[in-house]
């Protein structure tokens, strides 16, 4: 990792090591790779083999390839041919994916390209209620426990059309 040398990362993170770069002789910082046990990622589309079409602005491919187990959710399940022909999006082969769940609206309250935008009101509410454990319980009650299922969640979020 270039940079970082001389910062407090050297002491705060003992697993980071400064060594001379064998090629230039200059000091560089080595950072061990992160290997998540499980990663959860949300796809624009997926096929029955678990092949995914992902948002290009996210680092889902990097995350998935680094992880031991990948659980994916997808806005839509489509046939393999439709997935192949889609113009936009990063592809992740199904060989990385352990499980796939069809979850329309699964990125809400954040945005999903071509499907829905950011839910500003919901995020504002979340930021307010996430300030303490007590108020966060209110959030969970309102948006998780009081709702019968995901269809009810989508209806409340104004995304009822996606559930159809």
């Amino acid at each position: 990792m270039p940079g970082h040398v001389g910062s407090d990362y050297e002491t705060l993170r003992p697993e980071f090591k400064v060594i001379p770069d064998p090629y230039s002789g200059k000091d560089v910082l080595l950072v061990p790779a992160i290997v998540p046990d499980v990663s959860f990622i949300h796809a624009l589309q997926a096929d029955a083999e678990g092949n995914l079409r992902l948002e290009e602005k996210e680092d889902d491919v990097l995350l998935a390839r680094a992880s031991r187990v990948v659980v994916a959710s997808a806005e839509e399940i489509v046939d393999a041919d439709t997935l192949r022909r889609a113009p936009y999006g990063l592809r992740l082969s199904g060989i990385y994916v352990a499980a796939l769940v069809h979850v329309p609206g699964g990125a809400h309250p954040t945005a999903c390209r071509g499907r829905y935008g950011i839910d500003e009101a919901h995020i504002t509410e979340y930021l307010e209620l996430a300030k303490s454990d007590d108020t966060f319980r209110t959030y969970l009650q309102r948006h998780v426990f009081d709702l019968k299922d995901h269809t009810a969640y989508l209806a409340e979020a104004g995304l009822g059309a996606l559930a159809a």
């Binding site: 990792m1 270039p2 940079g3 970082h4 040398v5 001389g6 910062s7 407090d8 990362y9 705060l12 770069d21 230039s24 200059k26 000091d27 560089v28 290009e56 602005k57 996210e58 680092d59 889902d60 491919v61 990097l62 990063l90 500003e120």
Partner: protein, 234 residues
């Protein structure tokens, strides 16, 4: 601040703007519509200004190869040596504020040729004698691979410049209506300043028209709330 930032953008350069940076985004977009039409403008995740297809990873790889001329960072604390703190304020193990963390800053601060620091406030709490935790140093010994570093600091009160010889921040100009004394009392370290401190030139009518027109429209694609609230009517 956006107009001051715009002046630092040079034509034909590659300029990038990271997350939570609507003011630098506005400044860079102003420059690209005025004196720097051939600058390559990268604004993280902006539909019109994001050339990458492999997430932020591709952006960081691009930056690590030394391809950025200008970038913008901020800090929970900034000290007289241009050191940044984005980790914790107070004692590290018992901080009274936990900041978001350095993210790419400790790489970008070294690799981007010129880095402009910005703050929307200018207080002794932010501009400190010495940072509590050193996320990214302002300068490094020659043994360290470091082609870039701090260039200027832009705040609502003044512009500071980083002197690469003395490795210290120096007062470059004060904004119209602001005195050197005011800037000094808002700064937690003693300011190095020339005997006569110039006044920052205010934005021109043309600057304001571009900012309130096309720049605001473009910024709104990424920062809708900022675009609604920050651009004062003429």
């Amino acid at each position: 601040m956006a107009a001051v930032i715009a002046r630092e953008v040079r034509d034909r350069e590659t300029v990038a703007v990271g997350t939570l940076s609507p003011i630098p985004a506005a400044g860079v977009l102003l420059a690209s519509r005025r004196h720097a039409p051939r600058a390559t403008v990268i604004i993280i995740n902006h539909d019109d200004h994001w050339p990458f297809h492999d997430g932020s990873k591709e952006f960081y790889d691009f930056a690590q190869r030394g391809k950025l001329d200008l970038f913008f960072l901020s800090g929970g604390q900034i000290d007289q040596f241009g050191n940044l703190n984005l980790i914790t304020i107070g004692e590290h193990d018992h901080p009274w504020i936990r900041l978001p963390g350095g993210a790419g800053s400790a790489m970008l601060y070294y690799l981007v040729r010129r880095v402009i620091l910005f703050r929307t406030d200018h207080t002794p709490r932010t501009f400190v004698e010495r940072v509590d935790c050193l996320t990214s140093p302002g300068s490094s010994p020659p043994r360290v691979f470091r082609p870039g570093g701090p260039w200027k600091v832009v705040t609502p009160l003044a512009v500071l410049a980083f002197n690469r010889e003395s490795r210290r921040l120096e007062l470059e100009s004060v904004h119209p209506g602001i005195s050197v004394t005011q800037v000094q009392s808002a700064t937690g370290f003693s300011l190095l300043a020339p005997r006569e401190v110039p006044t920052t030139p205010p934005p021109t009518e043309e600057d304001l028209a571009i900012l309130r027109g096309p720049v605001r429209e473009s910024v709104a694609k990424l920062y809708p709330i900022f675009a609604r609230t920050a651009f004062l009517a003429a």
